[in-house]
Symmetry: C2
Subunit: 172 residues, 2 copies
């Protein structure tokens, strides 16, 4: 199962691709950060993001895409940029015919570190360990995108296991 | 000059198409409201919005697109849906190679009614009068989209006039 995770942001958008099966360590395929210039107009920035995401989806042919679900933050301006970038990510995946799953930051933290309150450093450390990397992925946006992808592989695993258990038990 | 205006919303997205030249009354071409089902997942909703907007842009071949610029509101959930729908509208226009201009609600109100504090009823009344319609466009999302399009024709007119004056004066 190959998953492309997106940590949406208008200025920096993290993208992480991992491969794995539920209950086993995932393997790193690639990670990227797509930058857009804050000096550019919004149409130019969204178009740049859309083209780069479309290219990465085509290049890596993931089975599904995981995108961080945006929640209210203190800075409304930041929330808006994140919501706009997230919408582009979701739409790009949907246009490619891929299933899209959204996770809140605390769901991802809980899946990867065991705690929904984990900080950035702890998340990066766990992603580095789980993917058996010699160095932590930088910048943090890339680590967050990889964490999202890992979370989705494992959660997909949970669902697959439940489905398997249901079949085994003779009921669906 | 044909302008397609978009009043972005995830549940109801207003679209208005007008034709006109600066300093003269505009003519109504068409207006629509694109609905998406709140019960559907976000990818389905954004895809539905993208497809409908893409079809309307192809059908009406506007010279440019005007989209309402989203600002902070009290309800963060509403802001997010509006930001997501707005991002889809901006991206759809940019992908079609069209220039996109964004206006704040008060810029549109000031352009159409002369007051940045005009209420919904006043806006609808002015749009009805300016387009010489026998009945007010319903629902209000459609009237707002038409107001955006009228605002853009007139503002484009201002810029065109400035450019013309500059050429006339022998400097650019």
């Amino acid at each position: 199962m190959r998953v492309l995770g997106v940590d949406p942001g208008l200025t920096r958008c993290g993208v992480g691709v991992v491969e794995g099966v539920p209950g086993r360590p995932c393997t790193l395929v690639a990670y990227y950060v797509i930058y857009t210039d804050p000096q550019d107009e919004l149409p130019t920035r969204l178009l740049h993001l859309d083209r780069n995401l479309t290219d990465l989806v085509a290049e890596h042919s993931p089975d599904s895409v995981a995108v961080e679900r945006v929640f209210s933050q203190h800075n409304v301006r930041t929330v808006m940029g994140t919501a706009q970038a997230g919408a582009v990510a979701v739409l790009t995946a949907a246009r490619a015919g891929l299933p899209v799953q959204m996770y809140t930051p605390s769901e991802v933290k809980a899946a990867v570190t065991g705690s929904g309150q984990a900080d950035k450093a702890q998340m990066t450390a766990m992603v580095t360990r789980l993917l058996r990397l010699s160095e932590p992925p930088r910048p943090a946006d890339a680590a967050d995108a990889l964490a999202l992808a890992i979370c989705h592989v494992w959660r997909g695993g949970t669902r697959a296991k439940v489905a398997a258990a249901a079949r085994k038990g003779g009921y669906r």
